[in-house]
């Protein structure tokens, strides 16, 4: 499997006209000295980061969305079947411990090179955090609220969707925040699954090209901004979905 991986990594390394790019433009000198950040180069080459960034967004967005859907399904399934909780926690925990590059390579024969492999792997990584947070959130719902809900004639399903899940929103969103930030980071490795994303710039543009620092710094910077962007999104989401959490209690 590893041999296979090197064979597909090899052409990747050799392709492209990167060196010509490096010697062009107004920042030639900086680039030639390979300073930490060559802003001029970054500015001139902003174009080349656009599609990796978009690819990265898609990878993260889809993985977290799928992860959330699956984890929610698992949580709903195990909610009234408590014995499933350790099983699900254990299984998602095992997945979480597999080194990411290894997981990409394990998946390659099944899903082939490309976005599918990356998204499957990234999705599996989100399960542990999201699932555990949903379970925690559901566990924190006040007994009295559940008792009142049942006592007023809610079915178990109505109780789950109208009382328990809404009350678990803060914990669920906390889980999504962590899962998303870590996915933003791990998705930079998607390049090893043959998918795009910012990893392309970090590995093929940076590391594999005589360690060109500026490409690495710019791509990492974009990843950080992306994480911050998602975080802000979640804060907004929480304000919208859990307004009762913001009120001043007396």
């Amino acid at each position: 499997m590893i041999a296979e991986a090197t064979t597909w990594l090899a052409p990747l390394v050799a392709q492209g006209d990167f060196f010509t790019d490096r010697s062009e433009g107004s920042a030639t000198e900086c680039v030639a000295e390979n300073k930490t950040v060559c802003l001029g180069w970054a500015w001139d080459n902003a174009d080349r980061f656009v599609s990796p960034t978009l690819e990265h967004l898609v990878l993260v967005g889809l993985s977290v969305a799928f992860g959330f859907a699956i984890a929610l399904g698992m949580a709903v399934l195990s909610h009234r079947r408590r014995w499933l909780v350790p099983t699900f926690t254990g299984a998602s925990g095992v997945l979480y411990t597999i080194p990411s590059i290894a997981l990409f390579l394990i998946l390659l024969p099944i899903t082939g090179r490309g976005n599918v492999t990356a998204i499957v792997a990234l999705t599996l990584y989100t399960l542990q955090i999201i699932y555990r947070n949903i379970v925690t959130g559901l566990g924190n719902v006040p007994e009295a609220a559940k008792d009142a809900g049942r006592g007023m004639g809610m079915t178990e399903r109505q109780l789950l969707w109208r009382v328990e899940l809404p009350l678990a929103v803060p914990e669920i969103i906390a889980g999504l925040r962590i899962a998303t930030v870590s996915t933003v980071a791990i998705a930079t490795l998607a390049i090893f699954a043959g998918a795009g994303g910012l990893g392309e710039e970090i590995y093929t543009g940076g590391l594999l090209r005589d360690v060109f620092k500026t490409a690495i710094v710019v791509a990492s910077g974009i990843a950080i901004l992306m994480a911050v962007f998602f975080d802000a999104l979640y804060i907004g989401l929480q304000r919208w979905l859990a307004p009762w959490r913001r009120v001043r209690a007396i």
Partner: protein, 391 residues
Amino acid sequence: MNTRNGDAEALSVRFEDVSKHYPGADAPAVDGLSLEIPEGEICVLVGPSGSGKTTAMRMVNRMIEITSGDIYVGDRSVRDRSPAELRRHIGYVIQQTGLFPHRTIDDNIATVPRLLGWDKARTQARVEELIGLIGLDPELRSRFPSQLSGGQQQRVGVARALAADPGVMLMDEPFGAVDPINRERLQNEFLRLQADVRKTICFVTHDIDEAIKMGDRVAVLREGGRLAQFATPAGLLMAPADEFVEDFVGADRALKRLSLLRVSDISLWEAPLAYVGQASAEVRAKLEGAEVPHPLLVDSERRPLGWLSERDLEREIVPDRPDSPAEPRLERDDVMRDALSDLLQAETQYAAVVDHEGRIAGVLSIEIISEFLGSGEALVEEHSAVERPLE
């Protein structure tokens, strides 16, 4: 009562030899309980912990399943109805209020109407009606429960239970988590509300004073979930069935009986009246054989001004400002226990009792009260006193 919500008719609740055995437990939690709560009455289940009072209550809406026996709401067995359907027609109030923290007050109150599929306009109208009924500031309607005080939350809990106008309500220590002053207020408010809505209520408490105050009937349960006595509060205080009930009711049951009565419920003494400007000799004549040995000075409207002393009567004409004022002054609606307390506090034997216009209605003495407690006359029917809200 309004019938537009379908449920308004209060329904009786009948326990027939109901037992609950939890799996793995040696003894039953509730053991052969039989009792009937007539329509529109409050029945309080009271007892020490482990007496199965909450279990008994929760079997009515099948929050706990009955092991043997049956419970009828109206003439329908609860076993024949699906738990969800049954519960939507039974109001449910619990100690911790159980308000949904993520829903506004309006939305909390609208819970059951929405479960029943009422349309928006009808639900909205009902919520508004209930907000008025519990006297909640309408500004609080869009707030979340955590923004309300404990007392307000408890009122909202009651409103939520009343929302679909159920015939029966279950209340599990509804005022247990509120401080004593607010508890008293909530109890009184609730009795006023109940006088209006006339629900059949199964009320659980461990507090015998609350049971006596709130109940039309009180069921005292003992450990092991057996019924020790089922009686009116007065009956319970008058004739405890056994030592357990006597202990549970407490050594001060004589005083508790007084809290069931109002001054108007017992026959008062008549005071010899002296009018301003009357001759002392005339007043002295009235003292002969009077129940109260002191003349009470009243104005032309028969409003008490004060008690005349021997020295006052030495004058030819009675003075218009007597030495001792007519304190304490009681009203006919005062609760007897408070009246006694006023008498003791004023360190006096007699108190003038006045009607709503402030005119003299009679005299209450410590002697009347002690005689009354000694004889226990006609106490059982005096129960009417608690049906009117105390305040």
